[in-house]
């Protein structure tokens, strides 16, 4: 009788690439559900289009250009698709979503060699690509006025929602102080925490995103280092600035709950492929993202800044990996 012979180890942990990607999809489920409830059919279409277009693009490239076995079973294209959908305004037309998906997978992921080889996060890169290509579509935050109208149960009417960051940036430019802006638009932190109209589909509810974060940590899919480093930097910088001049600089809580900080810091900046390998590296990377986000918000032309910050820091990851390593055994003392 012949037996299998191979070197140790002879057993393997249950986790696989596909199981990790499935965990990310599960962690995104609460945020997706909230966006579906509030934005209705339009959002359902966007999610479906993005996921299908991403998977199809990957399949087609592997089938017709690379002549290699398909890798869509690892679910990473589905994760990219869902993340992209959650990064678009719910009013975004389906064909823009298709262009974004093809760009994310075709250009950002596959041209660099597919999973594990891409320098930039595909979903973030696609979002920025769309933002520069279709600025008016990508900043059209009009949304259904109510849940029933979102699902077609009552007359379809829309409100031209604006993102809090957009309103603030607009108001400051026109010479208003923060207090006046906040008084004119009734933003409440409670709304931002649970469900707020105005912004990318995925950032409706901070709470839903935090639930996903806890799930990812509990399943040990990600480590908290990068996310916490981003949060600490954003809170730190906005605390200093809002303390010095509270009438022109927004406070920490406002900055944490708006402009995709939670979505970006939990789901996009922690992408394995485009973030550093070591803990020290993750701290530096997170600091860089937080710093650039706040610089763009306080002094830049764009109101939000998170996507640009992540994209820019993606480019530094190889450099960070070169200089930051995990501590080796027996070398510390």
């Amino acid at each position: 009788m012949a037996f299998v012979v191979s070197p140790s180890p002879h057993i393997h942990a249950p986790a696989s690439t596909a199981s990790i990607m499935r965990d990310v999809l599960i962690a995104l489920a609460p945020a997706t559900l909230v966006s579906l409830v509030f934005y209705g059919w339009a959002e359902l279409l966007l999610v479906a289009v993005c996921i299908c277009a991403c998977m199809l693009t990957e399949w087609a490239i592997e089938r017709f250009l690379q002549h290699s076995p398909s890798t869509i079973g690892d679910c990473s294209a589905a994760v990219t698709g869902l993340l992209l959908a959650l990064n678009l305004p719910s009013s975004c037309p389906w064909w823009v979503a298709v262009i974004g998906s093809i760009f994310a997978i075709g250009v950002v992921k596959m041209t660099f060699g597919g999973l594990g080889q891409n320098v930039f996060n595909p979903a973030i890169a696609a979002r920025v690509f769309l933002l520069v290509s279709f600025p008016s579509i990508m900043t059209d935050w009009s949304a259904p006025a109510s849940i029933s109208s979102a699902w077609g149960f009552s007359q379809v009417d829309a409100v031209s929602g604006a993102t809090p960051l957009g309103v603030v940036s607009e108001g400051l430019r026109s010479g208003m102080t923060l207090d006046e802006i906040f008084a004119a638009h009734s933003f409440s932190y409670k709304e931002m925490l649970f469900a707020r109209v105005g912004g990318s589909a995925g950032e409706l509810s901070a709470l839903a995103l935090l639930v996903g974060f806890v799930y990812l940590l509990a399943r040990k899919v990600i480590k908290a280092t990068t996310t916490l480093s981003i949060w600490a930097t954003i809170i730190g910088i906005s605390m200093v600035f809002s303390f010095i001049n509270p009438s022109s600089y927004t406070d920490p809580l406002f900055n944490m709950l708006t402009g995709g900080v939670l979505l970006g810091s939990i789901f996009m900046a922690t992408d394995y492929v485009t973030s550093p390998m070591s803990n020290t590296g993750c701290v530096i990377y997170g600091f860089g993202i937080g710093l650039q986000t706040m610089l763009i918000r306080y002094f830049g032309a764009y109101p939000e800044g998170m996507s640009f910050a992540i994209l820019l820091m993606n480019a530094f990851v190889p450099l960070i990996n070169r200089f930051c390593h995990q501590p080796k055994f027996g070398r510390a003392k």
Partner: protein, 455 residues
């Protein structure tokens, strides 16, 4: 839960699967013939002292050490030497074996075969070391390093700690656990003997928290011994957090003393000597009973093996693996891989008629589903290998550098520090054969380092 100590970097938590933990140690019957390997310790192979036709008794010296780092080998049975020649070991390598046809069970008269516990410790440490050497004791924790060499630190170095490894961190294995439960007092005397040989360092016995019975049992025995004999008052039993590879020498030293052995360094450099539970029992038998290392305890286990066929056997070293497997009811249905040792670091058995050696600790049956390798995917840079590595290495990087043949970078990234524990390959979600590649690169790296002229 109290805050238990463990090693500081990396580690993984494979499922325990200590299925055979409650199977008492049984004495394995004698086979028709045994094959005694001349290469069952680290270092130079032993030199046979017998020729075909010689009659031997149990415990008779049949091979002498082949160098400074080498060990004596004794006959595990009585009978007639049939042949001395090359035979394949479990991996298929040709090694000199002495084949002995078993006739009766006649022991050397010098061996004390009574079950009485001898707790009085001899005064002369040179005499203790000599007994350990003459009786061929080697480390039974995996590396089979000759014990008398380890217990005699080089000039200028002293042992502050004698650490007894009762972690048994490999899944499935239960032989050390059974020895602690059934031969606990002898283990404690063995520890005290080694303490004496090392001029009285602190002795700590580290046991993982998943064996609370062993922790309680040894603690009870120890307080009994310490009441009657002050020599036992400097032994301590310390529970450890469960984490693989806690039983790795460097990891155990870190867990129990907080000291870290430097790269390419030896435990004695930080004042530590580590011995395993089985070795400690062998030291007791060698010194107090003058019994050579001719028996050891081995676990026969596996998920596909019915519970009533799981065993912990006291076997004569040199019995063929196939004989033990027959005694335990043959290869169970569904077994596709046989491991000698644990699932993380054990060796796959290529030849079932290969013989047992001093370091044999288990026969483990794995099913195809448990052990077949899934196809490799691309590295997703999740960093799990680096988080799992107990040496703080970066396996993903080492694999890439090894494939590129960049030995300058491999040395900088300390490929030679790899302890081959398998944590990286075990954790990799892309099923990359990390350790396979790194193991080869490590071998080449060590040869490069050794070939350099010494200044």
């Amino acid at each position: 839960m109290e805050n238990l100590s463990t090693f500081s970097i990396g580690g993984v938590h494979p499922d325990d699967r200590k299925i055979s933990r409650d199977c008492p140690i049984e004495v394995l019957p004698l086979p028709d013939k045994v094959f005694v390997s001349m290469a069952q310790h680290l270092g130079a192979p032993a030199k046979p002292l017998v020729v075909p036709g010689d009659t031997v008794k149990v415990g008779q010296l049949i091979a002498e050490p082949g160098g400074f780092i080498s060990a004596c080998v004794h006959s595990p049975v009585s009978g007639t030497v049939k042949s001395v020649g090359l035979r394949e070991d479990l991996a298929g390598n040709k090694v000199t074996h002495i084949e002995i046809v078993v006739e009766g069970d006649k022991w050397e008269e010098s061996i004390d075969r009574t079950p009485d516990l001898v707790t009085e410790l001899p005064e002369d440490k040179a005499w203790i070391l000599d007994r350990i050497k003459q009786n061929g004791v080697v480390g039974l924790g995996g590396a089979t390093f000759p014990t008398h060499v380890k217990l005699a630190p080089p000039p200028g170095k002293t042992a502050d700690f004698l650490l007894i490894n009762g972690a048994e961190c490999e899944p499935y294995l239960t032989s050390d656990y059974r020895v602690m439960m059934e031969r606990g007092a002898e283990v404690l005397v063995g520890a005290a003997l080694m303490q004496k040989a090392l001029d009285g360092p602190r002795c700590i016995i580290g046991i993982e928290e998943n064996k609370p019975e062993a922790i309680d049992h040894l603690s009870e025995l120890l307080s009994g011994l310490a009441d009657r004999n002050p020599a036992y008052r400097h032994i301590e039993i310390r529970p450890l957090k469960k984490k693989y590879p806690q039983g790795g020498e460097k990891q155990l030293i870190d867990a129990l003393t907080g000291r870290q052995v430097k790269s390419m360094g030896l435990p004695i450099d930080v004042g530590a000597v580590v011995q395993n539970i089985g070795t400690t029992l062998a030291v007791y038998e060698a010194v107090q009973k003058n019994k050579p290392l001719i028996t050891n305890v081995l676990t026969v286990t596996g998920d596909c093996l019915p519970v009533e066929r799981q065993h912990n056997y006291l076997f004569r070293i040199g019995v063929p693996l196939s004989f033990i497997m027959e005694q335990a009811g043959g290869v169970p249905e569904g077994a596709e891989k046989i491991i000698s040792g644990g699932p993380m670091m054990g060796k796959a058995v290529a030849r079932v008629d290969a013989t047992t050696v001093k370091g044999s600790s288990a026969i483990l049956y794995l099913t195809g589903e448990q052990t077949l390798r899934r196809p490799e995917g691309p590295c997703i840079r999740c960093g799990r290998c680096a988080d799992a590595c107990p040496m703080g290495l970066e396996p993903f990087l080492l694999k890439k550098l090894a494939e590129a043949g960049d030995f300058t970078a491999l040395e900088k990234n300390a490929v030679h520090d790899c302890i081959e524990c398998g944590c990286c390959q075990y954790s990799c979600p892309a099923n990359l054969s990390l350790l396979d590649t790194i193991r080869i690169a490590k071998g080449d790296m060590l040869r490069i380092i050794k070939s350099r002229p010494k200044n």
